[in-house]
Symmetry: C2
Subunit: 90 residues, 2 copies
DNA sequence: TATATACATAGAAATATATCTATATGTTGC
DNA sequence: GCAACATATAGATATATTTCTATGTATATA
């Protein structure tokens, strides 16, 4: 799979989104659970989740009324690795 | 040295700045030389260089009238590595 | 010293992004 | 089917970022 590295970096350039990623580090959470950790309103969280999802940093699965988000760790490893290699000394 | 990882990602979230980094990959360039590769005006380039410098992604040295910019590769390796590790499977 | 060159800084305008309120959609349980 | 709940979407507003023009500063040179 080929990730859009520019989308990736745009996504993680917001500390709120990195904080969401931190929350998902140890397993999936639904939107309400994520909201509890922020002062923002739910639609703002949805907006950030959508940006993360678009960058393929998170994926989601629906369970009844709830939507659980979880990290796509391979995307993170891949994008960081690719970028790092691009500027590494040979 | 401890880099500000949020500043780092904010800096590389703009494709123009990543392009500047690419240009500096194989050695230093002065501002005029960098400008030649863009449609932007010189003050805009200076602005981007300043953001990169603030994030410690580039450093500069003055040679007469010219200012040469060069990559601080250790910063790139360090920030990408740190971030990647933060979300890696253990 | 006056002029040209290279770059930086200030401030305005255009554009993009984040956040909010209001509301729509989909699911569950009565 | 209806009410309640979880989340998403629409659209407005606030804020941040990018880019520009105009100008300042430092260095080199005639």
């Amino acid at each position: 799979m080929q990730y859009d590295i520019n989308k990736f970096f745009k996504a993680i350039s917001d500390p709120n989104r990195v904080k969401i990623m931190e929350l998902l580090k140890d397993g999936e959470l639904n939107v309400s659970e994520i909201c509890k950790h922020f002062d923002m309103k739910q639609p703002s969280i949805s907006h950030h989740l959508n940006i993360l999802k678009n960058a393929e940093i998170v994926k989601d699965r629906k369970v009844g009324k709830e939507v659980y988000y979880y990290l796509n760790k391979i995307c993170i490893t891949n994008c960081c690795g690719t970028f790092q290699n691009r500027f590494a000394e040979e």
